[in-house]
């Protein structure tokens, strides 16, 4: 009994320490974002301040069109999620049901495409988009970002679809459903946890991506959040409190989304792809 208690206490302490280490940067980020400019460089630095205010946030939101950046990020991330999930689901289904031996080589091929450094791909992609007049469009970004999460998405969905027995497809066929109908109405709902997981993961990658949006959008009204935050870092000047406020604004939506849907992510990994 005692041993169990000790073990629990020890665990609790370790968790608290680990939590502190992990969360401290965020605490400092929020602390800095609430400080007035005159307090940023104080030595010793203040951990809590009676001068905390939301001024930096107000400045960030009014002086720069952060609401527009937010909207852009949202459209691009949602679009990417939709496209990527559909592509991955189609591909995973196609492979597991029709070309089962091709599944693994395909995942490996996708992994291979992930091995390319971003810098290399950006320029030719930019030229391609420029030549078809798609610069400064949501579409160009969505197209680019959808490729990022494909390997993980396909791998996970293949695991899921494998675990759905073929008999279900057969049953649907016998009932007169076409392939597409079977896919959308019967199989996909069964794979929902996997789809949610893949969607979450893709959304996150799209939301946080920077380099591509930087190069592919020149119109300020098309900037996404990550670009908006980066623009606040002038080499010659950094308003730390405003920068941190912008970072908080950029990070909060994802955190909210994750807290709501985290369960699905764990479920998905648990039931889908982990078995191997």
């Amino acid at each position: 009994m005692h041993r169990a208690r000790h073990a629990n206490a020890a665990r609790g302490i370790m968790v608290v320490v680990a939590l502190a280490l992990v969360m401290f940067p965020f605490y400092w980020m929020i602390n800095t974002s609430l400080k007035p400019a005159s307090e940023i460089f104080l030595s010793p630095p203040t951990f809590v301040s009676s001068n905390w205010s939301l001024d930096a946030y107000v400045t960030v939101l009014t002086e720069r069109p952060f609401a527009r950046y937010f909207l852009n990020s949202l459209v691009v991330s949602l679009g990417t999620t939709a496209l990527s999930v559909i592509l991955a689901a189609f591909a995973a289904y196609g492979f597991t049901r029709f070309f089962p031996r091709g599944a693994t080589p395909f995942v490996v091929f996708l992994l291979f495409t992930k091995m390319l450094p971003e810098t290399l791909l950006i320029i030719p992609y930019f030229q391609l988009m420029a030549s078809v007049g798609l610069l400064n469009s949501y579409f160009a970004l969505i197209l680019a970002y959808s490729s990022f999460a494909l390997p993980f998405s396909v791998w996970m969905l293949i695991g899921f679809f494998r675990s759905i027995p073929r008999d279900i497809d057969e049953a649907a066929k016998i009932d007169g459903a076409s392939y597409l109908q079977t896919f959308f109405m019967v199989i996909l709902p069964l794979a929902r946890p996997g789809l949610v997981a893949v969607g979450l993961f893709t959304f996150l990658i799209a939301w946080n991506s920077y380099l591509w949006a930087l190069v592919l959008t020149t119109d300020a009204s098309m900037h996404v959040l990550s670009v908006g935050v980066a623009n606040m870092v002038g080499e010659y000047r950094v308003q730390w409190n405003e920068l941190m406020a912008a970072a908080v604004i950029a990070a909060v939506p994802v955190m909210v989304l994750f807290s709501l849907l985290e369960r699905h992510l764990v479920n998905a990994i648990t039931s889908g792809a982990v078995k191997g």
Binding site: S38, F41, V75, A130, V215, D219, A230, E235, Y236
Partner: protein
């Protein structure tokens, strides 16, 4: 069934919406990109410039391209390679011209009346030339001088009216200004080209040369005066101990922060640093004084940077672009930039303007700048070596001072090879 249809309809609608957001057609849209558009001290000015220009020129719209300074060149190059670069850009003239990203503007300049053309000295214009052709109009710059914190100087028992003129004076001042949690100065060793700029001012103030006349050979270590200067300057952080710690991560940003917060008493910087420090710490207003760089050689030149506005090679409306550049380089905006952002005008017809004369610091910088050499140095690989190879050598020498000479000899060899490979 229904859900499939609605899903498909939704997808189609989204797709159509995204495809349809191509930018609408305006009469003429000029894109303008310079790293400074994201600098707070410049923002009110450029917004006013664009507003006034558009009001005076209906049919032309100027669209600013905002990008973080460190990504400015990346974005420009990616666009230039796809022949979609912004029409008006401020970039390193030699590098961009060499790579074919800019359009020569000689013909536009020639078409201008004499009093416009006369506002730029031929020296100034030659800094924006590549292989004999003019690729940019010098718009603003900065002259490097030594800026002091008056309060700290007085507190150390030194006389602000008698700033150091030679290196030994400077060293004795520095020793008195160091101590009690603050230092005399900061040595710049961070990974940006300001490291190279400050290094060059020290080399030149000793009468040394870092390169030969036609930029085909590097002489950092080969020229004994240059090597002497390097050792002295880096020694400030090393054995002399009068410089703030962590020089290898000190750039303009860190240096001005340290100065604004009273951690260092002097900084080698340009006029724009004054505006920045005043912004960072309003208590510093009126607490700074300026003096020429301490030198070991009579009449040693200081450094003046030059930023030019250029037209990119792929611009479909070069005449409209030239109109804006001409507008932006006008007297009014040059003075505004000097007044608010502390960027020095490069026109030579402003010295007697009352607004310029009214600001004593600005007048001093203008005075110091009458004997200055231009920066960046005219090499198409300047951007790479100034923020790359030279900085690496400085960092290595800061970390291993006993190997300074060897490190800079290596640098000479590497740079010479690169210069010859151009």
């Amino acid at each position: 069934m229904r859900s499939t249809k609605t899903l498909a309809a939704l997808a189609a609608a989204t797709l159509c919406a995204t495809l349809g957001t191509a930018t609408a057609q305006q009469p003429i849209v000029l894109q303008w990109q310079t790293a400074n558009l994201t600098e707070k001290q410049y923002e009110p000015i450029w917004k006013a410039t664009i507003a006034e220009f558009e009001a005076a020129n209906p049919g032309i719209k100027v669209e600013p391209v905002l990008v973080a300074r460190k990504d400015h060149w990346t974005k420009f190059v990616a666009a230039a390679l796809a022949k979609q670069a912004p029409c008006i850009v401020s970039v390193d003239v030699a590098t961009a011209a060499y790579n074919g990203y800019l359009m020569p503007i000689d013909k536009y300049m020639q078409a201008e009346p004499n009093d416009f053309r006369g506002a730029w000295s031929s020296d100034m214009l030659s800094a924006a030339k590549w292989k004999g052709k003019l690729y940019g109009l010098p718009i603003w710059g900065g002259t490097y001088a030594e800026i002091y914190n008056r309060e700290m100087v007085v507190k150390a028992g030194l006389d602000p009216a008698n700033p150091p003129k030679t290196w030994s004076d400077y060293l004795s001042w520095s020793k008195k200004l160091t101590g009690d949690g603050s230092w005399a100065t900061a040595v710049l060793g961070g990974k940006t080209d300001t490291t190279t700029r400050v290094l060059l001012t020290w080399i030149w103030s000793n009468g040394g040369e870092a390169f030969n006349a036609d930029m085909t050979e590097a002489t950092f270590a080969k020229d004994p005066k240059s090597l002497e200067a390097i050792k002295f300057y880096l020694g400030l952080a090393g054995k002399q101990g009068v410089a703030a710690p962590a020089p290898t991560t000190t750039n303009y940003l860190e240096q001005t922060n340290l100065f604004a917060q009273g951690k260092i008493a002097t900084m080698r910087n340009a006029y724009w640093a004054v505006a920045k420090v005043n912004d960072d710490n309003p208590a510093m207003k009126g607490n700074m004084f300026v003096a020429p760089i301490p030198a070991n050689k009579a009449n040693a030149p200081t450094m003046s940077t030059m930023t030019a506005s250029s037209i990119s090679a792929s611009c479909p409306h070069p005449e409209a672009a030239w109109k804006f550049i001409k507008f932006d380089s006008g007297k009014k905006w040059s003075i505004e930039r000097a007044r608010v952002a502390n960027w020095m005008p490069l026109r030579n017809d402003l010295a007697n303007d009352p607004q310029v004369k009214a600001d004593p610091l600005l007048a001093q910088f203008v005075q110091i700048g009458t004997h200055a050499r231009s920066y960046p140095l005219p090499s198409p690989i300047w951007a790479e070596i100034a923020a790359g190879d030279i900085v690496d050598a400085v960092q290595r020498a800061l970390l291993q001072p006993e190997k300074t000479e060897e490190i800079f000899r290596e640098l000479d060899a590497r740079l010479t090879k690169k210069l010859r490979d151009v």
